[in-house]
Symmetry: C2
Subunit: 215 residues, 2 copies
DNA sequence: AGCGCATCTTTACACTGTTCAGATTGTGCG
DNA sequence: CGCACAATCTGAACAGTGTAAAGATGCGCT
């Protein structure tokens, strides 16, 4: 009769769904203290469990973080989907929306974002993580293909577009959560809609206006 | 008679130039283990000094890291200057070179780069750090001004260009040291010159080709 | 029913950053 | 010149960290 509620307290010796509970607790711990001050013992304490309980499920702290990053990519893709669904049918508008979702995610889960894209504590050879990260990239390449009519995997110019757009979205996202873009004071004073349009314009600068060779 | 050599061993009780020595040791420690596994005690051990010796000079570990980040911006700017000096007189070529220097730095000092741009252990209110970071940004705005003929600080469209270029360079740099761009297999097989040209093209997509209003 | 095994706790250890009292040395002031 | 003071560094101690090893617990299967 184990409830699926993850933050529950268990009076029984066995927890029931400790794995999910630990992931949830780890995520709030991560967003609270950041990766650099992340504490496994603190996570265990949140779930009212001994410090070594996570060991069996995740091996060690990095294992837990790796699993957390994997799950992060699902949220990441969902957040992009949400933006895309509101974007109409124009392929470029969809791509821009996807980029805005990229930035949305970074703003909503900055520490998780950093864990996924800039942490060394994550096991990049982990199959789940690799697959999740791959799915995110494939989303991008399909947008480019819809726009350019060529698959980036077989066309270098289209691949260049993909990397350019990725770089722009990623850079804007990373600088945003570092609060570096506040330097442009006019950005802070902008409405959400204007800011979205501003970012969209920049993101779309990544796609080349004319494919030179279609190989 | 204190030599200015920083990695020396002192037989005397007082060190002589412990501050610089600690910074040097901290930098190699940082590049060796990354921020997430950075250890102050290990730094002290490198200089053959007690674990509490750094306290007086930097307050605490974050203080040391903040000083390290400040110094990092100097190297950062120098690395961009080096690229620019080889770039000829065309303002766009200079801007692209500056962006390549941005990426050069990230590749050469990945952990320091992350400390400067993505760490929470750094005191952003620190005057030295703020000034150093500001200088780096001013370098960018001057490039844009040289190209567009308008100061980004007084023209929003020029500022948009600055942020776009910054986002692109930063995104490419960050993704590069995360080894994410290896997905585009053709990038790995490229010569340095081709890769530079490839990145330059992408970076220059950030500058708008025609200023709409010159406010 | 009861055995096996996954799950969780307890204990212990090495390591971390920081504080505090004391040792050592350079420096300025008389 | 001498001496007290201030700056600098050490040593010991403390709370906190991750992880390994051994023991406790109870779920599920035969």
């Amino acid at each position: 009769m184990t409830s699926s509620q993850s933050t529950q307290k268990r009076s029984t010796y066995h927890h029931g769904d400790l794995e999910r509970s630990l992931l949830d607790a780890a995520e709030t711990e991560l967003e609270t203290n950041g990766i650099e001050r992340f504490s496994l013992r603190a996570v265990a304490k949140r779930v009212s469990v001994s410090p070594s309980a996570p060991t069996h499920h995740f091996g060690n702290t990095d294992g837990l973080l790796t699993a957390l990053a994997s799950r992060g990519y699902s949220k990441f893709i969902k957040m992009q989907d949400k933006r895309e669904s509101r974007a109409g049918d124009d392929p470029k508008a969809k791509l821009a929306a996807s980029g805005l979702g990229y930035i949305d995610f970074a703003k909503k889960h900055p520490a998780l974002f950093r864990l996924m894209f800039a942490s060394e504590r994550t096991d990049k050879a982990n199959p789940n993580l690799a697959k999740a990260a791959n799915a995110a990239f494939e989303k991008l390449t399909k947008h480019i293909e819809a726009i350019q009519g060529v698959d980036p995997h077989t066309n270098q110019i289209a691949m260049a577009d993909a990397l350019a757009v990725w770089g722009i979205a990623h850079g804007l996202a990373d600088l945003t959560i570092s609060e570096r873009l506040g330097r442009a004071t006019f950005l802070a004073g902008m409405s959400d809609e204007d800011r979205d349009e501003f970012f969209s314009d920049i993101i779309l600068r990544g796609v080349s206006t004319h494919l030179e060779k279609k190989t």
